[in-house]
Subunit: 391 residues, 2 copies
C-alpha cells in the first residue's frame, strides 16, 4: 500500500523536475520517501516517473529488498571513489549526485528545508537549479496515514498500553511510608524506578524510547520535566510515554495521571475538568474541522471553569499552557498541529488529544489519547482506562 | 573544563565573523558547541568573543543553567512570533537569526556542511554571507577529548562491560540441544533473547542503544547483520555493543566473539590471528602515528598469514573487509578514521581497534576495544577479557 504522492506531483508542476533528499534514515522524510533505512546518508530522487535511490554498494542488496524505489543506483556506478579522491567528500558526493540526476533528465530540484547547504551549493556550481521548499509538502503527505501506517501506530500504542499498565501496577502496589513517600518491596518508589519498569516493558515489546515522563507534584507542573526522586501519596503523578516501534519506526503516545491515595480537592476538580475538556476535544474531531476548532473546544471548557489558558493570556505560566495535540507517525511530533494554528484535519491524520492543567502549587494533570481522524469523527487507537485514583 | 576551540578561531581568521549552527541537540556538533541539548532546533553562534545561544523562551531557563554559552538570547527578544506570522516559519526564523547576528556584529558566517539549505538561502537574502565549510573543523575539534569527556566514555564503556558480561553469562549458562542449538531455561537461546538481556542491562546502567549485534555462524560473516534466530554450539557468536549514556550522551563500543563448545579449527585459527592483529594495532598507536599506520599493522598480520584484506584487494568480499577502527564520542562513529585514510592520531583521540575476519562458509570473528591515544602509546578504556571459548 503506497502513500498518495500526487500532492508532490502537483507541487513540482512545471517548476521542478524532481524532489531530492540527501539524509540518513533517521530523517523521517527520507525514510518515508525511500521506504528505506540506513545509518549513513543516501540520496532519494522523486520524479513523476518514480522513486530513484542512490546508495553505497554496501546497502545496494538491502535497498533492492526493502526500499520502495523503482530504480536503485550505486555510488560506484558513478565512480564516486575517484570523485571523492579528486574533489573531496562533499564536492565528490555532489558530482556523483549531479550525474545521477542527469541520468534521470533532472536539471531542477526542490528539496526539504533542511537539505544540506554544502551539497545544495555544490550542485548549483554543477549547474543545477536547487531550491529548498518551505511548504512542508512531503511532511503534509506524511500526515495522512495509509491503513498500514495506522496499524503500525496501533501496534506501537498497544506496546504503550502494556508499559502504562506496568507503571500503574507498580504505583498501585506501592505502600505509603510515614513521610508520605511511596515504597515498593522495601525501597522508596521513585520516578526513575517507574521509568525503568516502563522502559523494560517497552523493550520486551520491541519498542525503544529516549524519554519518558514520570513526574510527581511540582515536577508535574512543568510539562517538560521528566520527573525525578521519590513519588508521594495524594499527589498527582503524570505518566507520559511515547515509544517507537524498532521494526516499523512508528510511534505511540499516551498520558495518564494517577494519584495513589486521596487526591486534593484541587486535583480532583482539575482532573474532572480535564476529562471534560478531553471529551469536548474528541467530540470536535472530524475531517474538515481544524486543529483550531479542537483546541478551542478545550480552551472553552477550561476558561468557562475559570482556568487560565494560553489562548486567553499568551504569557500564562499556569493553567492550560500548551497546545491540544500534534500529529504522530514516524516522528512523535509531526503535522498536523492541534492548536491555534489553523490547520484543517483530514481523514487519516493521526493526532494526540492531550489537555492538561499546571501550577507548581498544585501539581499537574494531563490526559492523552492517540486517535485517527475519520470522515465523520475519529477512531481511538488507545485502549486504556481514564482513571485518576489508584486504591 | 572547556574544549580547545582555538582551531575554530584559526579557521574563521579574516574570512568569517563567526561559526553558525542551527540544529537540535541530536546533532553532535550542536550539542558540543552549545553544551546544550534540546529537542527542537536552536541556534548557536561561535565568535572569537564567545559562544552565543538563541533559544525559545521555553528553553531559556534551562539553557542558562546547562549550556556553555557566554550569552543567551530568546527568540522573543527579536519578536520571532510576529516574524513567523509575517514571513512564515523559515523566513521568519532567518529574519530572527539575522537580527541576532547583527547584535553580535556578524555579517559573514561559516556553517557545518549540513546546515539547513532553506535557512542558509534566507540569510543570504538578508544580505549575510553564508558558507558551508567542508573541512569538518568542528568535528576535528570534537575528536580530541578533554579529560572529562574521556571519563564519560569510560563510564559508558563500564556499562558496556556489564552488558557484555550479562550476554556472556547467558551463553555460558546455556545447554546444548541435540540439534546443536543452545537453550536456556528450557527455551531456545536466540540472538533476540541475548540482545534483550544486553539492552535491559544497559537500561539499568543508564544507557540506551539503537542496535546491538548478536550474530552467529553465517550471520556473523556480514559485519552489518544484527543477527537473528537460534544460537548454535561450536559456531562463532559475535557480540558487538555500542551503548550511549543517556545523561552524558557519550558512547562506548566493544566487540567480543564467543564459542559455546568447541570451535572449528578455522575459527580457532582466525581468532588467534585476529588477536595478534589486535595486539599489533595497539602496539602501533601513539600520537603522531596515522590511522593508516595502525590499519597497516592489522593488514600485515592478516596478509602474512594468507588472509585476504581490502588493502590487498579492494573488491574483497571475504577476509578483513572493513577498516580497523573509528573515533567514538558524542557520535558512535566520528573522527578520526583508523583506515587507509591518512589521518594523524593525536593525544586525546578516542578510537576503536576492531580487526576481524569474515566468510559465510566459516562465520565471523571480531575483537574490539576502545582506547585513548596518548603521547607515547594508548590507554585502554576497556576492561574485559579477550577469550573465545565459553565452557
Amino acid at each position: 500500500m503506497e502513500p498518495d504522492f500526487s500532492p508532490l506531483d502537483e507541487f513540482l508542476g512545471d517548476d521542478f523536475d524532481g524532489y531530492l533528499i540527501s539524509a540518513d534514515g533517521s530523517d523521517s522524510n527520507q525514510l518515508y520517501l525511500s521506504g528505506f533505512d540506513a545509518p549513513d546518508p543516501y540520496t532519494t530522487l522523486y520524479t513523476p516517473d518514480g522513486i530513484h535511490l542512490l546508495v553505497s554498494t554496501l546497502e545496494y542488496g538491502r535497498a533492492k529488498k526493502e526500499s520502495r524505489a523503482d530504480t536503485i543506483s550505486r555510488l560506484a556506478d558513478y565512480d564516486f571513489r575517484d570523485k571523492y579522491t579528486e574533489y573531496g567528500p562533499i564536492a565528490g558526493k555532489a558530482e556523483t549526485i549531479a550525474e545521477f540526476l542527469a541520468d534521470h533528465d533532472v536539471t531542477s530540484v526542490a528539496t526539504p528545508a533542511d537539505f544540506p547547504l554544502a551539497i545544495g551549493d555544490a550542485l548549483r556550481e554543477d549547474g543545477l537549479s536547487v531550491e529548498a521548499e518551505t511548504e512542508d509538502v512531503l511532511t503534509k503527505i506524511r500526515a495522512v496515514k495509509t491503513d498500514e501506517e495506522i496499524e503500525h501506530i496501533r501496534d506501537a500504542q498497544e506496546s504503550n498500553e502494556a508499559a502504562m499498565r506496568a507503571a500503574e501496577d507498580l504505583i498501585r502496589a506501592a505502600a505509603v511510608a510515614d513521610d508520605g513517600t511511596l515504597s515498593y518491596e522495601g525501597e522508596t518508589l521513585t520516578s526513575e524506578r517507574v521509568r525503568e519498569e516502563i522502559e523494560i516493558t517497552l523493550l520486551r515489546n520491541g519498542c525503544a524510547l529516549d524519554e519518558t515522563i514520570v513526574a510527581c507534584g511540582a515536577d508535574a507542573a512543568d510539562p517538560h520535566d521528566r520527573g525525578s526522586g521519590p513519588l508521594r501519596a495524594d499527589e498527582a503523578i503524570i505518566v507520559d510515554i511515547f515509544p517507537r516501534d524498532k521494526e516499523t519506526k512508528y510511534n505511540g503516545d499516551m498520558t495518564r495521571t494517577f494519584v495513589k491515595g486521596t487526591p486534593t480537592p484541587e486535583i480532583r476538580e482539575w482532573y474532572d475538568l480535564t476529562e471534560a475538556a478531553f471529551d469536548a476535544a474528541l467530540d470536535a474531531i472530524e475531517a474538515g474541522a481544524t486543529g483550531a476548532d479542537v483546541h478551542a473546544a478545550v480552551c472553552d471548557v477550561y476558561e468557562d471553569a475559570g482556568e487560565n489558558t494560553l489562548r486567553a493570556d499568551p504569557t500564562a505560566e499556569t493553567g492550560f499552557i500548551h497546545s491540544t495535540g500534534h500529529g504522530v507517525g514516524l516522528d512523535v511530533h509531526e503535522l498536523p498541529s492541534v492548536s491555534q494554528a489553523d490547520e484543517e484535519l483530514e481523514a487519516g491524520h493521526v493526532i494526540t488529544i492531550e489537555p492538561g492543567l499546571y501550577d507548581p502549587d498544585i501539581g499537574g494533570v494531563r490526559i492523552e489519547d492517540l486517535v485517527v481522524v475519520t470522515e465523520d469523527g475519529y477512531e481511538n487507537l488507545t485502549d486504556y482506562p481514564v482513571e485518576l485514583v489508584l486504591e
